[in-house]
């Protein structure tokens, strides 16, 4: 799970995320304002303060999202991907084998 030494052309972007209040599912705010389960479809804010402003709006307006926050992600060729151990695991699911694979 190496995260250092990002390839050239990678830029840092900011993503708004949270969990669906009812189902608990991880979701990301997309460019059209909808919530998507795939990180690749997340809106990539170039500036952190823009993402934080959107976060503040979500906190007030969107009761169906629980515990939203902003994290830094990597963008390369227009594709958004995780850049920390935490967000890699959030995006991909637990790395351990479950007793019963689903």
């Amino acid at each position: 799970m190496a995260t250092n030494g990002q390839p050239p052309g990678t830029t840092t972007v900011h993503v708004v995320t949270g969990n669906l209040t009812c189902a608990g599912t991880i979701v990301y705010l997309s460019a059209d304002g909808s919530w998507q389960t795939a990180l690749e479809r997340a809106r990539a804010f170039e500036r952190e303060d823009e993402a934080k402003a959107e976060l503040a709006r979500v906190r007030v307006d969107e009761a169906e999202i629980t515990e939203p926050y902003v994290f830094a992600a990597a963008s390369r060729d227009g594709r958004v991907g995780p850049s920390s151990a935490r967000e890699i695991l959030r995006a991909a699911g637990p790395s351990t084998r479950l007793r019963r694979p689903d």
């Binding site: 209040t21 608990g24 850049s83 935490r86 637990p94 790395s95 351990t96 007793r99």
Partner: protein
């Protein structure tokens, strides 16, 4: 075991109904997440890394085959077919949906279970020795006291919003501690006075987390009828004086250590003197009534000596003999044994069981016992009442379920928190590391040669994996988004509790297991005899040889021992 009466049943049903209303108000937007969070936490519902996680209490680790089957049913119906047993004698389901949790609570209420106060800043699940009632070395069965304390702490109105969580553990064995009472907010040991009167020795202010502290004895002898009034006095002093301005300074251990145990004791004794008349005091018949729930079962005669078990331990089938040595404990009742089921097999996350394993273990508890199961603070299970002559047959059944690994008390019987794979607080993963360690050290002869050894892994400083008190402790940390692991040595959660020390810089994920190996090699090289355990050897020689082995002379020269 304790059986619910009509009031107990009504309470858990009403609680499920109450939570259903709270969930409806949350989904309807009538209450904010900030308001809802303490409510869901006091029902054991966390928002974890991927989803909601529901933590269900197994009070003092004791549950029945019927309850186990219901847990299997919950795993199948509302989760992903498995559950995770924790160090605090709870079980967790990792994939709950908020609007289905009230249904799960209803299902739990049907079998006299609940998730009450398994999280939040309140008195948590009461824990005890997993061998309570069957241990040959105990003074008295601690479980009636645990149940009395469970009832007293359940929805105690004064202590519903403490500065921080509060954990109480009981033990009843002189000179031994299988419940780590000195690492709890309150630890209670059943003792006898010099005159032979039964009572309690009370410890306070222990805990792990980011500021690990071994508790102090606040009272050497408390007559048993006063247990609850004395607990109330401690809790009240804490509730009024514990810090609420800083979550990391809010546990009772910080209050006790900042005041000093003498001053804290004065405050508690003063409060107790003023309030004990108002508080609850047990009469002997009430104690006897509670004890009657935990009376030993009517054991059919099953031989009268330990010779059969001793012969199994020398059996020709070496694997069975090893199982009988490592995973089978001598029982209070002659002819019976308590059997540890290892939830640390080589290819599954530590502490996990599938629904089908749960069902099968429930059946075994009925067939080889009286339908009772224990969850241990070491994240294993125990079948407490097995006829010793049934051990060969039980062992074969356990093997088919992958819970017969003969590693109880060995290196790979490790404690491990869920870590970054599941936990919202974690900084690094712990489950894959535990798995790699179990795969690398899978030679049971080697593990036996290493002898009794505790390895404990936490994925963050909150120390759910008890790394501070592992003979070998591993703490996951985050360095700029990458997982690193600190190694510490010398901890113990036993009666001679001690805190481990970090020996040097953290290791990256790819070398940490090698570092553990080097520690083990160092121990084997310096122990005085095969009988000198790891912790004994470490205490004799100190950290220097281990630090040399891990970091070499160069580093050692730059960082001389303190």
């Amino acid at each position: 075991m304790y059986r619910y009466d009509d009031d107990d049943k009504r309470l858990v049903r009403e609680r499920a109904e109450q939570f259903r209303g709270q969930v409806e108000r949350r989904i309807a937007g009538e209450i904010t997440e900030e308001e809802f969070k303490p409510l869901r936490l006091q029902n054991g519902l966390y928002l974890q890394l991927h989803a909601y996680m529901l933590r269900i209490a197994i009070p003092y680790g004791l549950f029945s085959s019927g309850q186990m089957r219901q847990l299997a049913h919950i795993a199948r119906t509302w989760d992903r077919g498995y559950g995770h047993f924790t160090t605090r004698q709870n079980i967790q389901f990792n994939w709950s949906k908020l609007d289905e949790v009230p249904d799960i609570l209803d299902a739990l209420a049907e079998v006299e279970m609940h998730a009450i106060q398994t999280s939040g800043n309140c008195i948590r699940n009461i824990t005890t020795d997993h061998l309570g009632g069957v241990a040959r070395d105990e003074l008295e069965d601690p479980r009636p006291w645990c149940e009395l304390t469970r009832q007293w702490s359940t929805f105690h109105p004064e202590f519903a919003h403490l500065p921080r969580k509060f954990k109480i553990a009981f033990t009843a064995t002189p000179g031994l501690d299988r419940a780590a009472i000195k690492l709890h907010d309150i630890g209670v040991r059943l003792v006898q006075s010099a005159d032979g009167d039964p009572g309690f020795e009370i410890w306070v202010g222990g805990g792990m987390g980011r500021t690990p502290i071994i508790g102090a004895c606040i009272r050497e002898f408390l007559p048993r009828r006063h247990l609850l009034s004395y607990l109330e006095a401690i809790l009240r002093v804490y509730n009024l004086n514990g810090r609420r301005d800083n979550i990391f300074r809010a546990r009772i251990k910080i209050l006790v250590s900042s005041l000093g145990i003498e001053r804290f004791r004065e405050l508690v004794e003063e409060e107790w003197a003023a309030s004990r008349e108002d508080a609850m005091e047990f009469r002997d018949d009430e104690i006897a009534r509670m004890q009657s729930f935990f009376a030993p079962p009517a054991y059919p005669a099953a031989g009268s000596s330990d010779e059969l078990l001793l012969s199994y331990r020398q059996a020709e089938d070496l694997e069975f003999a090893r199982f009988a040595r490592n995973n089978v404990v001598l029982h209070k009742q002659p002819g019976y044994s308590a059997v540890v089921l290892s939830l640390k097999s080589f290819d599954a996350p530590a502490g996990d069981l599938s629904d089908t394993q749960m069902d099968s273990i429930a059946n075994l508890a009925d067939r080889f016992g009286f339908g009772e199961i224990r969850a241990t603070h070491n994240q294993d299970l125990v079948l407490p009442d097995v006829r010793t002559s049934d051990l060969p047959e039980l062992w074969r059944e356990l093997q088919t379920l992958d819970v017969a690994t003969a590693n109880a008390g060995r290196l790979t019987d490790l404690i491990c928190c869920p870590g970054l794979d599941f936990c919202n607080l974690a900084n690094a993963r712990s489950l894959p590391l535990a798995q790699e360690i179990r795969q690398r050290f899978d030679d049971l002869d080697y593990l036996d040669d290493l002898g009794p050894l505790s390895l404990k892994i936490s994925g963050c400083i909150n120390a759910c994996g008890h790394h501070h008190v592992g003979n070998i402790g591993i703490l996951g940390i985050d360095k700029k988004g990458e997982e690193f692991y600190q190694l510490m040595l010398g901890g113990s959660a036993d009666d001679d509790a001690s805190l481990g020390r970090v020996l040097g810089p953290a290791f990256s994920r790819d070398v940490i297991v090698g570092a553990v190996d080097r520690v083990l090699q160092t121990y084997l090289g310096l122990r005085e005899s095969d009988d000198e355990t790891f912790i004994e050897a470490y205490r004799r020689v100190g950290e220097a040889p281990f630090r040399d082995a891990l970091y070499g002379q160069v580093l050692y020269a730059n960082h001389p021992p303190a």
